[in-house]
């Protein structure tokens, strides 16, 4: 049965019981201005044309859908992969950042602020800032900076200032806190480029819309090869690549599956809560203190999930299973050996689910579309440490 899903939220940014705008007063007017500016731009054909043009000429879209023949034969299900790893900067993050950089320029903002976990959004933000001549500051947790040295170097080479975050978990959660603090202090001349479908309205809507190119393309590409996905699978930290690919299939019969890290299972282990600007499902203790997530992948180390995903889970339109670090490492090895694809540790969560559930939750004969949100180059140090016999 089809369920209407992934439409517009309410004017205040509510997807059912999730979303809203819970931020300090200094940045509320900026959020209101941003919501109006995004609505105006997204309805402007000239903006859409420029957005499409940059994605085509600069980031290399459309990204292909790859048929995984060897893996399909092994698993007994047809596996198709949407290749967001082939985007410039190596992940889907660039789609959103190009949209927001164009919007920042349209709004007359000269300074571009971002938070980053694995560094993929930070690298994308630094790249777009260089392309459009914006000053760029990226907040990144100290723990993540150590895990992702290569991305720190890339951001700095691109001209961005990387500010180490030393508070709290020193990962994505606290990078987001520090980015919000910086925005409060500099809101008059700074555009905040949030990297995922979380945060205050309009970010969950806006980031989904800038990422929906993944799903819209994939839907057309699948039709062109006469494939009708029965399952669409993507990893979920905040959930931007999942929102992007789900958006293209929300009105089909495909099962939408967002795979979380077992140590950051907001949907299966979280409760409704309010942090980082919206009400969503959140890992928290009995008193309401946010619990630190754990994942081998810095990009999924997030104790919450975008509010629209919480809504999709609540209405039953999407499910959010988990996979373990060990399953993720196995998936990296299998994809590398069987298809010549080295996925980012984040994206490997989606593959790990498919490897585990093919023939079980995913019946034989199914057509599974997996979003490979990024490539694994940035993770090679960690992968080499963990994959036995990788060399």
């Amino acid at each position: 049965m089809r369920v209407a899903a992934m439409g517009a939220p309410t004017e205040q940014g509510w997807f059912g019981r999730f979303g809203g705008r819970f931020v300090p007063e200094p940045i509320v007017p900026a959020c209101l201005e941003l919501a109006a500016a995004f609505a105006d731009a997204w309805a402007d054909p000239a903006f859409r044309v420029e957005f499409d043009e940059v994605l085509r000429q600069y980031t290399g879209r459309p990204s292909p859908v790859t048929e995984c023949r060897r893996l399909s034969a092994d698993l007994g299900v047809r596996v198709l992969v949407k290749r967001e790893d082939l985007n410039h900067t190596g992940s889907h993050k660039i789609n959103n950042v190009v949209g927001q950089a164009l919007l920042a320029r349209r709004m007359g903002k000269r300074r571009f602020l971002a938070e980053t976990g694995a560094g993929q959004h930070g690298v994308a933000a630094a790249t777009a800032a260089a392309l459009f001549g914006l000053d760029c500051v990226v907040f990144m947790g100290e723990v993540d900076m150590a895990r992702q040295r290569l991305n720190v170097g890339r951001m700095e080479l691109l001209g961005a200032e990387v500010r180490p975050v030393t508070s709290g978990s020193r990962t994505l959660k606290d990078a987001l806190n520090d980015a919000l603090r910086e925005w409060v202090a500099t809101v008059e001349d700074t555009y905040y480029c949030l990297g995922t479908v979380a945060g205050p309205h309009p970010y969950p809507l806006m980031v989904r819309e800038f990422q929906r190119v993944i799903g819209d393309e994939a839907h057309a590409q699948c039709q062109a090869i006469d494939a009708t996905p029965t399952h669409v699978v993507a990893c979920v930290g905040g959930g931007s690549n999942a929102a992007g690919i789900f958006a293209g299939f929300a009105d089909t019969d495909a099962a939408l599956i967002g795979v979380e890290a077992a140590g950051g299972a907001s949907v299966s282990e979280g409760r409704p809560g309010v942090v980082h600007g919206s009400r969503s499902l959140l890992l928290q203790d009995d008193a309401g203190q946010v619990v630190e997530a754990y994942s081998i992948s810095a990009g999924l180390d997030y104790p919450g999930i975008g509010p629209e995903h919480a809504h999709l889970a609540e209405i039953g339109r999407a499910t959010y299973p988990t996979v373990t670090d060990a399953e993720v490492i196995t998936a990296v090895r299998v994809l590398s050996r069987s298809e010549g694809l080295i996925p980012a540790l984040e994206s490997a969560h989606a593959f790990a689910y498919v490897l585990r559930e093919a023939g079980r939750e995913i019946p034989p004969g199914s057509t599974v579309l997996v979003n490979m949100s990024g490539r694994g180059d940035k993770d090679m140090d960690q992968i080499l440490e963990r994959v036995d016999g990788a060399r």
Binding site: Q12, G20, R21, F22, V23, P24, E25, P26, I27, V28, P29, A30, S167, G168, K173, D174, N177, L180, R181, V184, A185, T186, V187, E188, R271, P272, G273, V274, V275, H276, G277, R279, L282, Q284, D286, A287, G288, Q289, V290
Partner: protein, 261 residues
């Protein structure tokens, strides 16, 4: 909660609850040194409007196991005669349930609340729960708040209006931002509620400067920094007394206050 009737410029220091075994001694020291109310910070894991000092105090308090319930338990020993105002983040209220949270605060002797991540678009349920429990839900205004929005904030706020003195997180600054006086004037122009300025009120002379335009000041980080540096409550007493003197010198208390005092 009626602060204006005290007849002098209002001084509201902030203490992070649970930051040390003797945190309540710091509250009492502030009261004895001339506070008109005390803000009780209930620590939250993700304090987005707080700078490094109050973040550090929050971490220390959380590591000591501080929760809204332990704060309420500790406040049973509060012996001061000025109102206490809870400052925390919305998730702690949301988590417990708004009515339950309001009742917990009232049972602890708290008179009002400041929830800085709850703007007016989302605050109506809390305003109702607070009113039902007899709590004053204080709302915040910022230098970026447009006039029409400021008017609505002032209309809906209870107890006083919290004007943010600058764009930024809590923390000490060498100079008082020019936006602080402007904020105070904008609030007093549209409401009879007291206009209290907080964030960036770092030195007694800042408070003295604000005495012309504001009804009072909120002093957080300078107090908390002293608490982090030393368990000695005399440090807090000395600081609060300096702010008291600065305010009273700049704007002498009314005769009514002297008679009541």
């Amino acid at each position: 909660m009626n602060l204006r009737s005290r007849g002098r410029k209002l001084l509201v220091p902030y203490v992070t609850a649970g930051v040390s075994d003797n945190w309540l001694d710091h509250v009492h020291a502030a009261v004895d040194a001339g506070a008109d109310a005390v803000e009780i910070g209930i620590p939250f894991s993700d304090p987005v409007i707080d700078g490094p000092v109050i973040q550090a105090a929050s971490v220390r308090a959380l590591e000591r196991g501080t929760t809204p319930s332990t704060v309420a338990r500790d406040l049973a020993r509060y012996r001061g005669d000025v109102p206490l105002i809870a400052m925390t983040y919305y998730n702690l209220a949301h988590n417990l349930g708004l009515a339950e949270f309001a009742d917990l605060l009232v049972s602890a002797g708290i008179a009002g609340t400041i929830l800085p991540d709850l703007p007016i678009e989302e605050s109506a349920p809390w305003e109702r729960a607070a009113a039902d429990a007899g709590l004053a839900a204080v709302l915040l205004a910022a230098p970026t708040t447009p006039d029409d929005r400021l008017a609505e904030i002032c209309r809906r706020s209870r107890g006083f209006v919290y004007g943010m003195g600058l764009l930024g997180v809590t923390g000490e600054r060498p100079d008082l931002a020019t936006s602080a006086r402007t904020m105070a004037r904008r609030i007093t122009a549209v409401t009879d509620l007291p206009a209290l300025i907080g964030v960036g009120v770092s030195k007694p002379e800042h408070a003295a400067t604000l005495a012309t335009d504001a009804d009072g000041v909120i002093v957080g980080t300078p107090v908390v920094r002293r608490i982090l540096e030393s368990d000695d409550a005399d440090q807090v007493a000395t600081l609060v007394a300096q702010f008291r003197t600065a305010l009273d010198t700049a704007a002498p208390p009314t005769r009514a206050f002297a008679a009541a005092g």
